[in-house]
Amino acid sequence: MLSFYRWLLYLYPSLCRREFADEMISVFRDAHADVSAGSVKERISFRVRETLGLLAGAVREHTRIIGGSDQSISFRGFDVRPEFRFPRSTVFLMSIIFAGVILAMEKANTIQVKYAAGAGSIWPSLPWFLGFTLLFTCAAAMVGWGILFALRRTGVHRLANIQAGPNRTD
């Protein structure tokens, strides 16, 4: 059960795991020792409670990170700190993307009005659309992960740890 518990802890964000895993394992070990003398029902109840508690806890911790309530965000070891600010060019690029989306919606609306009479049902093309969306999402995720991996390889994330201070005189 302890090895299963350790394995489940890997579902937690790495930052959280580094912070609490040792304590959690220690508390779990004590609780497991207490309950091991109990009835079968108590032992099963303990295992179910611990497993569900860990699963819910992992989801909650990931949600906290996505929601931005945590002190720092960790993507596979690449920490984005709260003082991190996107460059100004990001606003410009996001504006272009937003304008592109609006334009595409406008075009789609025009096409729909123009060819509505001749077009059939959209359902036959739905699997293709879903497949394309899935592929696009996977590609975007891979590109994002690649960028983060490349940044980590260059050591950019260590810049956040550099402290500004007086020059050393020795």
Binding site: C16, E19, F20, D22, E23, M24, I25, S26, V27, F28, A31, R49, E50, L52, G53, L54, L55, A56, G57, A58, R60, E61, S69, D70, Q71
Partner: protein, 74 residues
């Protein structure tokens, strides 16, 4: 504390501890001799103030409930 009525899983317990640490309601007690898997925590002044407010709120609730029950029985 609850006489076995409330059983917390370690996932729930440490989720709550993490939240309390983030909100600065509790803090870790740094002791040289404490092992890494046994680190004590204590209430901060902010946490103590919030605990007092919560106790007050619960006291008010129980008082209201007692009044309601007394009124029904009268």
């Amino acid at each position: 504390m609850s006489g076995g009525r409330v059983k917390l899983s370690t996932g729930t317990l440490y989720g709550a501890l993490h939240r309390l640490l983030d909100d600065a309601w509790i803090e870790r007690v740094e002791e040289d001799e404490s092992p890494r898997d046994r680190r004590p925590y204590r209430l901060t002044s902010r946490g103590r103030r919030n605990l007092q407010l919560e106790v007050e709120r619960m006291r008010h609730l129980t008082k209201l409930a007692a009044l309601r029950i007394a009124r029904k029985e009268a």
